[in-house]
Amino acid sequence: MLLYALWLLPLFGGVLLWAFGPQLRSWAGPIGAALIGVGFAVAVALWNDATAPGGLHAGLVTWLPGWSFGLQLDRLSLIWSLIITGVGFLIHVYSIGYMDGDRAFARFFAYMNFFVFAMMTLVLSDNVIGLLVGWGLVGLASYFLIGFWFEKPSAVAAARKAFVMNVVGDVGIMFAVFLIVARIGSIGYADIFAHFASAFTPATLFLVCLGLFIGCAAKSAQVPLHTWLPDAMEGPTPVSALIHAATMVTAGVYLIARFAPLWSASADARELVGAIGGLTALSGAILGCAQWDIKRILAYSTMSQIGYMIMGVGIGAYDAGVFHFFTHAFFKAQLFLTAGIVIHALANEQDVRRMGGLRKQMPFAFVAMLAGVLAICGVPGFSGFFSKDAVIYGALESGHPWLYAVGVVTAGITAYYMFRLLFVTFFGAYRGNVDPSDLGIRHPELAGTAASSGHHAEEEEPHHHAPAWLMTVPVGILIVPTVAIGWLDAGPNGYWKQFFAGFFPRANDVAVAVPISDLLSSGLVLLVVAIGFAIAYLRYGAPAVLRDAVARLRTETVRMPAVLVNAYYFDAAYDALLVRPARALGGWFDRFVDPHVIDAGVREVGITSQWLGHLFRSFQTGLVRAYALSIAFGVLCIAAYYAYAFAFTGSGR
């Protein structure tokens, strides 16, 4: 019963706020947030039931034999549900403050609630069709929310780009679902996991995993389907925090973890997933070093961290990958919300080159950001340390030394660009009054400065400020897990490992003998992190550097390699290969097919009936004699019939 409530309350909220938004006005925010908070409470209340063996099940409808839809809450779904509702609740509260004064205040919360409902559909389904439905719905919610300020053309384009790339992923999952249904004949997870070993050939298994992974790659912004995520930052910051950091982009991780039995049985699939995850982690980190927009830096860092998660679940270290998701949700949401506080305070300035010295003006934001940065770098004691090291060491444990190296190097680069962000934003002198061209900003609108971001409230309505605590309290609450929650997995018998003990099937290939212990590995990672910190300090944080900040920033902007600025030219490649031909085809249809084929067909119908009319009209001469002639012809026909019947074919009747 409560399980149904957990699933449907956000939908109720979404519909209510969408239908009565104009009437509810500023009540929409508290209502939306309260519903999600109730959802969190429900999830907590269901803890015992969910952690029992077998989890909690609630049926919905059985359509065909083998096609029964229902909800389930087991340990995996429970973790995701708690994050979605818990972090979601905090972000909703934050949004009441952030979106205050926006014209479409109620619509925002309607969409956010709808998103939570869609995400719950995804994680609570006990069948692969429900997963697919939820998958599509979160893509839709993402489209709504990225393009929330739809008067901005860049936002609309970004929303469309995100949706189209997600559809590519949907196709992959659909093929996998088709194969599953064709071979196994059922859609429920229980049936699939029970029968796939006998029903799938190894080739089929790989194809199914491949199809599922294409969906993951699109949804979780893995290479090569990652280009939508930086553009998705056009949406409001709470959206970026909830959807593009904590929950939606991690749906791919959930999918792989959910289908762990399949992945454990196919070594090829795991190699593929691990490789893509590692590649994404590395390339995302490198690109993060080249960004100047605070949200884009965080977007690339998200891409990179999800690469870690995918790598983790891909190589078989499921609980490590899921744990990294768990900690990442907290610190990434907190980083985004803090960035939102900064942006809000600086009147929608997003370019870090125009920030600086905010440590003194906004101490709370500085402390929060510092906590998040320490967590994401994996500094010992903070939450990221435990989860990231678990993933990296898991790569070594499962016999992937190259992925181990990638993980370690990426950790160093992560440290570099995150501390770069911290130094450039919070240290030195405030550069907001400096002329943009002195800083090397050539196209202010592309760099996300105040001229272009979409907060419309200032122009439209009298600006009444919401109390600041609405934004700072959620951030403050989030600092706690950012710092501390990693201790859940401390030690070889950490609570987390016990929580998922026996839940995920181990991979077939046995762990190889590891050359170094995990303690040594952590030390190695820490060393690399320290190196990254040192380089960042020398380039951005040293007192000599800070005095000269403007010139140095300009130099760096000018000298940034074009490859990095254009994000490895992925966008250009997609544009040339896919977008332009599609546009050309559409143009050809418009110029040629539409007027000359379709319209011509329609015209021809009219012309033909006119021609037939002319033809028949030619018989109507008005002459009696002509009519008499045709009557005589009829007589001939009758006579001929009788002649034929009687004379030439023997005696007729």
């Binding site: 001469t621 002459l623 001939l636 006579a639 001929a640 002649a643 009687f646 004379a647 005696s651």
Partner: protein, 194 residues
């Protein structure tokens, strides 16, 4: 037998003459000849009553009707003028059609031969011999009474129709006088028969 052939030739000749004569009066004469020969044919086929009817009704009534209408239309000493021929050379397809029809009918009948039934040839005046008045009367008034009555009805309809179509515009028939204006009383007929 000779009678048949003579009559047949005369019939065909008169028919051709009827169809191709220049003046309608000539056509009427040709038609008259045709009807008389046809009556002869009927006698050959022992349809005595019908032969007489043919002469009386067809030649005697219908042809006279034709003559009257010709007279009516040519009153004013106006020859029968004709306008421009709007369907020239229609004779060709017409004759082709007619010829084909002829061939079809001939082929049908020639290949399904039948013989005349043996019918007692009654002496003249015997009451109910085949084709005689009495025989025909019995058939008409007993077996085919309903068609007979319907025929009477048809004739009545024909008369009414002719009167309506070609009637005069005077007070007696009343079909074409001007409609009464409202408020004006119809004048009382002044003429009385003394």
């Amino acid at each position: 037998m000779i009678a048949f052939w003579i009559l047949a030739v005369l019939m065909i000749a008169s028919a051709v003459f009827t169809v191709s004569a220049k003046k309608p009066v000539y056509s009427v004469i040709g038609l008259l000849a045709n009807f008389v020969c046809l009556a002869g044919m009927y006698l050959e086929l022992q349809a005595e009553f019908l032969a007489v009817i043919q002469i009386v009704v067809y030649s005697g009534a219908i042809l006279i009707l034709f003559v009257f209408v010709i007279a009516l239309l040519s009153s004013g000493v106006r020859p029968f003028d004709v306008g421009p021929d709007r369907a020239p050379r229609i004779l060709i397809p017409a004759s082709i059609l007619a010829g084909l029809t002829l061939i079809a009918i001939t082929a049908t009948v020639v290949r399904t031969p039948s013989a005349l039934a043996k019918v007692p040839v009654g002496t003249t005046g015997e009451a109910n011999a085949f084709g005689s008045v009495g025989d025909f009367g019995v058939a008409l008034f007993t077996t085919n009474l309903l068609p007979f009555e319907v025929t009477a009805f048809i004739l009545m309809v024909a008369v009414i129709g002719v009167v309506l179509i070609a009637g005069d515009d005077d007070a007696v028939t009343g079909s074409r006088r001007k409609p009464r204006r409202p408020g004006k009383r119809e004048p009382i007929v002044k003429d009385r028969v003394a």
